[in-house]
């Protein structure tokens, strides 16, 4: 009896274990997926699968395979893709989800729902909005890339490093998709060069779970992200300091942000319901000043113009955000936290457009470079 029990116990352990095995070589991993909305209102799902030639020498050459299918839900279109593959399709290593702008303007949650439910999904995957067709962007495969499957992900990573894009993933936007009081931005891309490259265009503003159609331009992303307390490895801002100098480049300067501190404080206000002060202190190095070597006596003026230019830029960004009704600074959540009774009286859906957001930007010039 004892023997039998032991054998049965072993069988339970070993057999149930084998059942669960999922061999790596027997799956096709999708690296990038694109979702579009067709005119008929069904989803079109395109995935990129890297295939590697057998490689006893070196890592082997990668070739890419594209598959497109349609379906009523994202899972259905996924099953439709699976039907055409020699092995099982697995999105477990999905790095980027491209969402066509048509689709993003609707609710994006239904497409992403399956990703949140399955424990095997890769929640670190980056959602990206593409102006126009996502499928088209996915199919851009520059020949110079060693690993074509990592092309789009590479673009985002390098933009995060230069403080032009936020580090987003399905996990990080998860709570903001549904909660009131804070919205999010996603990277925005567009197919350029007559379909040969994909370029990064800025940040797409979301309200609740749909794309507002308004964006923060590429030129304004760095300042916006600094106000959101995000800084990559490098942060550079080019801005116009003067008017009417000749030649034209003399009007401009580029600063490199070495250090920054930022705070967003909101409080109730009688006139505008809510008043938000965004304080941003930048410690910068002048990286480019084409006019001359920049003498010490000029510094106060440069500092003043710089602060003015940056404040103008910030105001413009804030205007776009309010027009889009996308509370990316989380002002609503902060109000809810600090003034819960006051929050009850607000109708955030409408009031956000009316509140006053004031940027206060101060610039300390630490260095003019090693030139002088």
């Amino acid at each position: 009896m004892k023997k039998l029990t032991m054998i049965l116990l072993c069988c339970i352990l070993l057999l149930s274990g084998c059942w669960d095995a999922r061999e790596f070589k027997e799956v096709k991993l999708g690296i990038t997926a694109a979702y579009d909305l067709t005119d008929d209102g069904v989803y079109k799902n395109t995935i990129l699968i890297p295939n590697v030639q057998n490689s006893s020498q070196g890592p082997g050459k990668e070739s890419t395979q594209f598959l497109t299918s349609t379906g009523k839900t994202s899972s259905q279109s996924r099953s439709n893709i699976d039907r055409r593959l020699s092995s099982t399709y697995s999105p477990a290593q999905l790095d980027v989800v491209l969402l066509g702008s048509n689709l993003a303007k609707q609710d994006i949650y239904p497409y992403l729902d399956a990703y949140y439910r399955d424990p095997r999904m890769h929640l670190d995957c980056v959602p990206v909005v593409v102006k126009g067709s996502a499928e088209q962007a996915l199919k851009v495969v520059p020949e110079s890339e060693v690993r074509p499957s990592e092309y789009i992900e590479g673009i985002i990573e390098s933009e995060v490093e230069t403080t032009n894009s936020v580090e987003v993933s399905l996990q990080s936007i998860g709570s903001e998709l549904y909660e009131e009081g804070e919205d999010f931005v996603l990277p925005l891309m567009e197919v350029g060069d007559a379909g040969k490259t994909v370029s990064y265009e800025g940040l797409a503003l979301f309200h609740k779970s749909s794309y507002t159609g308004k964006d923060i331009d590429y030129d304004h992303t760095t300042l916006f992200l600094l106000m959101k307390k995000v800084k990559g490895k490098v942060a550079r801002i080019s801005t116009k300091l003067y008017e009417g100098k000749k030649p034209e480049p003399d009007n401009y300067t580029t600063i490199n942000i070495e250090d920054f501190s930022s705070s967003v404080k909101s409080k109730p206000d009688k006139q505008n319901k809510v008043r938000t002060d965004i304080k941003l202190e930048l410690t910068v190095m002048i990286q480019e000043y084409p006019q001359d070597h920049l003498s010490l006596s000029d510094l106060p003026e440069v500092k003043k113009n710089l602060e003015q230019a940056l404040t103008d830029q910030a105001n413009e960004t804030i205007r776009t955000i309010q027009e889009a009704n996308s509370d990316v600074f989380g002002i609503g959540r902060s109000m809810y936290g600090h003034y819960p009774s006051y929050w009850e009286k607000l109708d955030w859906e409408k009031d956000f457009k009316e509140i006053k957001i004031v940027p206060h930007i101060t610039v300390n010039i630490r260095s003019r470079g090693i030139f002088r």
Binding site: C18, A21, E23, V52, S55, P59, S90, Q93
Partner: protein, 498 residues
């Protein structure tokens, strides 16, 4: 478990009487009778020589192959001539009237002198000593430090230890084991440092060994170790006197064997198998670095193949993005599941190792090249095993050879198998269960009644996972419960503080 049970209907066999417990057999005054008795007792072996001296009144008996003719000439015949043939005037002799003692003496390599009309036998020690020169042990080489090693002569081995510890507390207790072989063993310890309870325990265990023959140190340890079914060695074996002495001074017991250069050390902890005499000869920082690498190699040796199998078989989500295409490219066209690959590769490595051991060294290295390069390359090109698996298994066996102790290295390689099987059926959970079992087993183990896997507390870390400078290691290891817990009386050492 019927395989291990003693059968009840086992044949009852006669108990062998050991040579030193033979009942006395009085010798008679008749020369002929005495010689016949001895010849019969030795079953008329042809190497028993009976040399009748002129006049046929006196005879010298000896076993030809274990006596030294030179010594016989020097100690018997030359003095005999000088004393005018009177054997009783030669001083350097033993005597007895017990013929069974004479037989024992012959077996030890003595020669027996018998005289007609005299019941007393005289024994002369003319034993031939066959010893090897003192050489550095092949499998325990060090870069710095003493290069001598034990050999097959127990006297010489004790000599090597005595020369290193010149103190009256160094205790040597000789005993014999094996009813036929009467192999001599010596328990060596330092009285006052060693835990007396442990000595008593070891002595009891040795006394209770009942066997016809003691053939090797390994077999001996199986008689007295705490857990024979365990995969881990419970006695540290070494052929180095310096290692033995440092263990003696920590309060452990060394067991030396006649005709065997191996010395067993007990009680030991798991970490003792990861210490090398080199550690105490190099800078402490370097020694610490190497120790950490060795311990890391322990983890690597038992888990790397199973980790790899679990990843490609269950959890490919954890592969970093950059590695997906290389991994996929390597394993895509392999016909077998990863466990078959792994077992195949492990067997190939074991074959190379095992075939190389006993071959003479010029052929041995050829086997290494043929096995390692040709098979390794061809097996990947043929698509039987992926090149990643070759890397994994090669790293694993390298890591298992890093261990200074040979037995521990063997244990590690065996331990890889259950983990490979567990990981191929249960993934990471399987590895976790497997490692948990190993850990529980290690914690439950004892070496001579003292805990084998002593708790890793900060004090014991100093000479286990890392090695701190000597002046910081004032305590003997906690595990031994030594009556002299400190290595020095000067507890507040002024060293390094000026």
């Amino acid at each position: 478990m019927g395989f291990f049970k003693q059968k009840n209907n086992q044949q009852v066999q006669e108990k062998v009487i050991r040579e030193d417990k033979m009942p006395p057999h009085r010798s008679t005054a008749s020369l002929e009778k005495n010689i016949r008795y001895i010849q019969e007792e030795l079953k008329n072996s042809t190497d028993l020589k009976v040399r009748l001296l002129p006049g046929n009144k006196q005879a010298l008996l000896y076993l030809d192959d274990i006596t030294d003719p030179d010594k016989m000439q020097r100690y018997i015949f030359t003095p005999l001539r000088e004393m005018d043939g009177d054997i009783q005037k030669i001083k350097d002799r033993e005597e007895s009237d017990d013929l069974n003692k004479a037989v024992s003496a012959l077996l030890e390599g003595k020669s027996v002198y018998i005289i007609e009309g005299n019941a007393t036998c005289y024994f002369f020690n003319v034993q031939q000593n066959v010893t090897r020169a003192i050489m550095e042990p092949m499998n325990e080489k060090v870069i710095k430090g003493s290069h001598d090693g034990f050999n097959e002569d127990i006297k010489q081995n004790i000599n090597l230890i005595r020369r290193r510890i010149q103190h009256r507390s160094l205790t040597i207790k000789k005993q014999t084991v094996g009813d036929y072989t009467e192999s001599e063993i010596a328990l060596v310890y330092v009285e006052g440092i060693v835990n007396p309870g442990v000595v008593k325990e070891l002595e009891t265990r040795v006394k209770n060994i009942s066997s016809d023959a003691l053939l090797s140190a390994g077999a001996f340890s199986e008689y007295i170790e705490d857990r024979t079914y365990s995969i881990f060695p419970q006695f540290l074996s070494t052929e180095r006197p310096d290692k033995t002495v440092s263990q003696l001074m920590e309060g452990r017991i060394a067991i030396l064997f006649a005709n065997n250069p191996t010395c067993l050390i007990a009680p030991v902890t798991f970490y003792a198998f990861y210490q090398s005499p080199d550690d105490y000869n190099t800078r402490w920082l370097v020694a610490t670095y190497i120790r950490l690498i060795r311990l890391f190699s322990f983890i690597l040796a038992i888990t790397l193949p199973s980790f790899y199998i679990a990843v490609v078989g269950f959890h490919y989500e954890v592969i970093p993005e950059e590695l997906i295409s290389p991994v996929l490219g390597a394993i895509r066209d392999i016909a077998y599941p990863p466990i078959v690959e792994a077992v195949l590769m492990v067997i190939v490595i074991e074959l190379i190792r095992e075939s190389g051991i006993r071959l003479p060294s010029p052929i041995g290295s050829t086997i290494g090249i043929v096995g390692g390069l040709v098979i390794g390359d061809a097996i990947v090109t043929a698509g039987l095993v992926s090149n990643l698996m070759v890397i994994v298994i090669a790293l694993t066996s390298l890591a298992s050879f890093v261990v200074p102790s040979n037995e521990m290295s063997d244990s590690l390689r065996i331990l890889t198998f259950p983990l490979i099987i567990l990981s191929s059926v249960l993934g990471f959970i399987g590895i976790t269960f497997g490692l948990l079992m190993v850990l529980i087993h290690l914690c439950r183990m004892e070496s001579l009644g003292l805990s084998y896997f002593t708790p890793i507390q900060f004090r014991d870390l100093k000479d286990t996972v890392i090695r701190v400078p000597q002046f910081l290691m004032k305590r003997r290891p906690e595990q031994l419960e030594s009556p002299r817990p400190y290595k020095s009386n000067e507890l507040s050492d002024k060293h390094g503080k000026k």
